[in-house]
């Protein structure tokens, strides 16, 4: 298939249209796996998931089974979970602590650094058989930014820190919640499928335009809980407070909003109860003392949904969620979501953070199921794509200057980058 542009990006007419074929085509998905997932840095896991040497987690990253683990010396590894002998999955446990991973098929055994350390009956191999070249394979690159580990299948990719570009500042803002700068993944993972193209989750994760219509029951719940949600005061706003869409380079972007929904990190709302006030005040004072009033305000009084291209979302909103998702066919994705909290968080603050998470996020939350419904309805509607070809994404293009979170500027950033990586002529 020859490369072509899948977007109509007309800056004069101020219209932006997306070819819906990109959301339904299995051919395009195959090319995405090579050109997007084969070249970009892809999130694997967080350092806090592996606390000790020998700890491991087995998971799929962009459809590939990997072992995310630490060796006896404590170094982090990402190994393909595929036996070098005949290809079986080597580690079948979800998590644990092991010095060795043994393939159950013929017993080839690997160290937790990936080296091949045991081959039953190895005297049957010719002299030239070299164990040291039969260690578990691994992605070409594996690097972290402040505990967020990513892999890249392309050895020529820029270093992770360069790739992340402006997204680093927004990760830093999340980590500033913790007095020691250490946030940890909290136990309990939410893994669920959505019968929709994976790129629809990218859009949905940062699209604040949909909040009033998709999430009116959540807004009602907040009001029922004593949280005052006032209608927008300024013309052009669809949310109670102002928020912006910000481009961060390399296809990354974020919303950056003045908070109205409460924050476990230091913005009390009635939902948390009177008893929580004192502790939230303490958290706030610690922020101000450590970061100064301006930075403390950034951490506590703004909420941000960050997309790291192509498929990592960090929502620092009602709570913090780290969410990643992979295509399983053009019309289906698998979502994995975790909660993130300060490593030193006390019991009551942790419980409040988790409770706040569930008010909005996750398969049993008061908002996420309606997002899932919206995305699945999009996918169902797209069955008409060949006769109703273009999705409309021009919102905000008519304006000079600032772009709101409820505009579609940030969605366009994603699609332009995606289009470029898919080889569209420039």
């Amino acid at each position: 298939m020859s490369a072509r542009s899948y977007i109509i990006d007309d800056r004069e007419k101020k219209t932006f249209l997306l070819d819906r074929e990109v959301l339904v085509s299995e051919d395009i998905l195959r090319r995405e796996m090579a050109q997007i997932f084969g070249h970009c840095w892809i999130y694997v896991g967080h350092a806090s998931e592996l606390k000790k040497p020998g700890d491991f987690r087995s998971r799929k990253v962009a459809g590939r089974p990997v072992i995310f683990c630490r060796d006896q010396g404590g170094a982090f590894h990402c190994l393909f979970n595929t036996c070098r002998h005949r290809g079986a999955i080597v580690c079948t446990e979800r998590e644990g602590n092991r010095r060795r991973f043994q393939c159950l098929y013929h017993g080839w055994t690997y160290g937790n650094d990936g080296r091949l350390v045991g081959v039953p009956g190895d005297d049957a191999y010719a002299e030239g058989f070299d164990k040291s070249s039969h260690g578990l394979r691994r992605p070409a690159r594996f690097e972290d930014y402040r505990g967020f580990w990513f892999m890249c299948l392309d050895g020529r990719a820029p270093p992770l820190a360069d790739y992340l570009a402006g997204a680093k500042d927004y990760i830093d803002l999340v980590l500033d919640q913790s007095p020691s700068g250490r946030m940890e993944i909290i136990a309990g993972v939410q893994e669920y499928d959505v019968a929709a193209n994976w790129k629809l989750m990218v859009e949905n994760s940062v699209d604040d335009y949909h909040l009033p219509s998709t999430h009116s029951t959540w807004l009602n719940f907040m009001a029922n809980s004593g949280v005052k949600i006032e209608p927008p005061k300024e013309e052009g706003l669809v949310l109670p407070t102002k928020g912006f869409a910000v481009e961060l380079g390399n296809g990354h972007f974020t919303t950056d909003n003045i908070n109205f929904r409460g924050r476990p990190v230091a913005k009390w709302i009635a939902l948390y109860g009177e008893a929580a006030k004192a502790e939230i005040d303490e958290i706030r004072s610690e922020l101000v003392a450590r970061l100064g009033p301006e930075r403390a305000r950034r951490v506590a009084d703004t909420n941000r949904n960050l997309v790291i291209f192509p498929n990592l979302v960090i929502n620092d909103g009602s709570s913090v969620t780290v969410r990643t998702f992979y295509p399983e066919g053009a019309g289906k994705m698998h979502v994995t979501a975790w909660a993130l909290g300060p490593a030193e968080e006390g019991e009551s603050a942790r419980a409040r953070r988790l409770d706040a998470f569930l008010t909005f996020y996750g398969p049993g939350g008061f908002a996420t199921p309606d997002d899932v419904e919206a995305l699945e309805l999009v996918q169902q509607g797209l069955a008409n794509w060949s006769d109703d070809r273009w999705s409309e994404m021009s919102r905000g293009m008519g304006k000079e200057g600032e772009q709101l979170n409820s505009d579609e500027h940030h969605l366009r950033i994603f699609w332009r980058r995606w289009n470029e990586l898919m080889g569209a002529p420039t």
């Binding site: 309990g188 939410q190 499928d193 019968a195 009116s216 009602n220 419980a351 919206a374």
Partner: protein
């Protein structure tokens, strides 16, 4: 007047109660279902990978106190709860009911369930797992003090969401 003692509680009584509850949930009679709850009732769906976790330090799928249950009912009955509009049709099969403990007026109960969920144009979703209850026995009838739903699937996966009361 005699005080009802849980020692006389039978499995048949518990089964009748669970079948009644299941019928109310399957029929979306959620206000009537709510009347079965104690004033301090809780409703938990632990995450698939930590079924024995504690909701205070583990991210659950659902961890509702009494007020949150009240709000959940308001939400799912609202036509703007899009995930349940039109409402799922559900059908629960409850079996292997056991009384696992009696302490004072509290009766702990375990049961297995299959809950089939149907929505238009969609695949059938089969939720399989175990219910664990703490029932309060008073005045000759049961009230639900704690309701815990353990899902057997290793991940929620194709079940998608728990947007109805499971």
């Amino acid at each position: 007047m005699t005080v009802a003692t849980p020692n006389v509680v039978t499995r048949a009584q518990v089964e009748d109660f669970l079948y009644h509850e299941a019928a109310l949930l399957d029929d979306w009679k959620l206000k009537e279902w709510e009347a079965l709850l104690t004033e301090d009732a809780t409703y938990y769906v632990p995450p698939n990978d930590q079924p024995e976790g504690d909701h205070r330090h583990t991210l659950f799928l659902v961890a509702d106190d009494r007020e949150r249950i009240r709000q959940r009912i308001i939400r799912v009955l609202d036509p703007n709860c899009h995930a349940e509009s039109p409402r799922s049709r559900t059908r629960r099969m409850i079996t292997n009911v056991r009384i696992t403990g009696i302490e004072g007026d509290l009766v702990t109960v375990a049961a297995n369930f299959v809950c089939y969920r149907y929505r238009r144009y969609e695949r059938i979703r089969k939720y399989v797992g175990a219910y664990r209850y703490v029932l309060k026995y008073a005045g000759g009838c049961f009230r639900i003090k704690e309701r815990r739903v353990l899902i057997d699937a290793h991940e929620l996966g194709s079940l998608g969401s728990v947007s109805f009361i499971l």
